[in-house]
């Protein structure tokens, strides 16, 4: 969903003439193109309910997971030694709020003058952008799918819960709507404050355009490696691995311990040597810089060694080497932004 706010588009049958009525997300009215009848979109839950068509097949999902297994510091024999226990599609419900966020943020930026004194220059910022808030409407358990970015080529279809395997909705519509409004308002203020060093006044507004319960398709792949269970989830439309757990590489852990110890030791030694041979001021500076670099290298390598027995992708929590990108609840729409900086 990069360029603009998406418009979920589903077709329904006109009760008056039997023609097609196209319903767009965020619109509360629909019009029959054939008989010009006007309809209010009613939903028993108070929010439109739409599902997206699963377009990635089982083979493609498995292929993507195998490709993911080869990347990063995962066990080198992961594909050969793993047994794929379950591969199944599932729909997960998400609350999705599209709204325009507006904010007036005032404050200052700090600048150094010629005498190296810090002075404050007052600034005003007006934010006027569109945002999408998406949050899972159920307890997704260990899958870590709290948010989703809907693909541009996602195809919305009429929701029919008889045909699909899905998680039940467990979060309240009203609470989710309010949380969405708060998130968007906060994000608009935060966007305004991001160009300032200090904020002296802020006021945010949110103008909802559409609130929908969407059912998004995923593939869940559960596998076993050396008698331990792992999993990965694949976007059922884009085909990317979104979240997953995999065993780490023992070799990579050993390398982290060995190389990390050697490099950090060498850096610390070099710093000490330079500190002793160079003048007092320059030597101390080099010693401190190299010592900090040594500590950073040691800390990074220790983390790789300590938690390298598991690799975690996406939004999942827990100890392990983190890979992939986290998906937040808020998406900014860059098109039709009318921000002003004074």
């Amino acid at each position: 969903m990069s360029g603009e706010t998406s418009k979920l588009l589903i077709s329904m049958t006109c009760p008056s003439c039997g023609g097609q009525v196209e319903c767009e997300e965020g619109e509360s009215l629909a019009i029959c193109q054939y008989c010009d009848s006007v309809f209010a979109l009613d939903s028993s839950e108070g929010a439109s309910k739409v599902m997206y068509k699963l377009t990635v097949d089982k083979e493609a999902a498995l292929k993507e997971v195998k490709s993911w297994m080869k990347k990063g510091p995962k066990a080198p024999d992961l594909i050969e030694e793993s047994t794929f226990d379950e591969v199944y599609p599932i729909y997960i419900p998400f609350w999705r709020l599209i709204a325009r966020g507006k904010a007036c943020v005032c404050g200052y930026v700090e600048k150094k003058d010629d005498d190296n004194h810090t002075r404050r220059e007052p600034r005003e910022v007006l934010i006027n952008r569109e945002y999408i808030y998406t949050s899972s409407a159920c307890n997704v358990g260990d899958l870590g799918l709290e948010g989703i970015r809907v693909s541009d080529n996602a195809q919305a279809i009429y929701f029919d819960d008889a045909d699909i395997v899905t998680f039940g909705v467990t979060t309240s519509k009203d609470d989710s709507f309010r949380e969405g409004e708060e998130y968007i308002k906060r994000e608009a203020i935060s966007d305004g404050a991001s160009s300032l060093d200090g904020v002296t006044f802020q006021k945010g507004f949110v103008f909802p355009k559409g609130f929908t319960l969407i059912y998004y398709p995923f593939w869940v792949i559960r596998y076993t490696y050396q008698e331990r269970s792992y999993f990965a989830t694949v976007d059922g439309i884009k085909g990317d691995v979104l979240t997953g757990r995999a065993p780490g590489s023992v070799t990579s852990q050993a390398n982290a311990a060995g190389i990390g110890g050697a490099v950090s030791g060498a850096l610390a030694g070099l710093g000490l040597g330079m500190g002793m041979t160079m003048g007092e001021d320059d030597g101390s500076m080099f010693f401190i810089i190299l010592l900090i670099a040594a500590v950073c290298v040691f800390y990074y390598c220790y983390q790789r060694f300590r938690y390298g027995d598991e690799v975690i992708t996406g939004n999942l929590e827990g100890k392990g080497i983190k890979t992939g990108t986290k998906v937040g609840k808020i998406e900014r729409i860059t098109k039709d932004s009318y921000d002003h900086y004074y």
Binding site: S16, I31, V38, F39, K102, P122, T200, F207
Partner: protein, 197 residues
């Protein structure tokens, strides 16, 4: 999700329209009603059609505005600099009770609606009501009544940032007294628009 056919609150006839519009006209009794998202039905609405007092363009269209009458009580304000420019320009203070104009048609490009909203709110136009649209096009209303008030409040904050000086602190109350619909005449030439009041 269900489709529920909208009926005229005056005569009960089914409403027919070519495009989505919050203000819908009954083809049977000519009554214009407002769609309420909250009630999911059409409700009675009173509106004013303002006649054109200036002529500038080839095609006359009527643009819907929400006119929000509100009391604006500024309790504290701190602006950094710009005092001299404000007094030279005779910058008006947006204070007290006034009508805030908020363009309610998304067909109008932002650069026009942004300017109109501010100018109409600062220099409140003398409206010359006319009985009907006299065959001119009426643009679709796309903004809910519910959000008109907050748009008006944001317009006030925008004004405070646009006047000379840099706003640093503001404490105010914005209380809405009433909200009504006004159709203003606009002259359209190709893709440019000029307000006709």
């Amino acid at each position: 999700m269900l489709l529920r056919e909208l009926k005229c609150p005056g005569c009960g006839a089914p409403i027919k329209a070519k495009a989505r519009d919050m203000m819908l006209k009954c083809n049977h009794c000519d009554k214009v009603s407002l769609y309420s998202r909250e009630k999911s039905s059409l409700v009675d609405v009173s509106y004013i059609i303002a006649g054109a007092t200036k002529e500038s363009g080839s095609e006359l269209v009527y643009v819907p505005f929400w006119v929000v009458n509100a009391d604006l009580d500024v309790k504290r304000e701190r602006i950094s600099g710009g005092g001299i420019m404000r007094s030279i320009k005779g910058q008006k203070q947006m204070r007290g009770t006034r009508d805030f104009y908020v363009c309610a048609a998304d067909e109008i490009p932002e650069k026009y609606s942004r300017e109109w909203n501010m100018n109409l709110t600062l220099d409140q136009p003398e409206l010359n009501p006319v009985a009907d649209f006299k065959g001119a096009n009426r643009l679709r209303m796309t903004m809910d009544k519910d959000v008109a008030g907050e748009n008006a409040e944001f317009l006030f904050l925008r004004y405070e940032t646009e006047i000379p000086g840099t706003l640093q602190d503001l404490d105010y109350n914005f209380n809405i007294n009433s909200t009504k619909v006004v159709f203003l005449p606009v002259w359209k030439t190709n893709s440019s628009y000029t307000i006709g009041v």
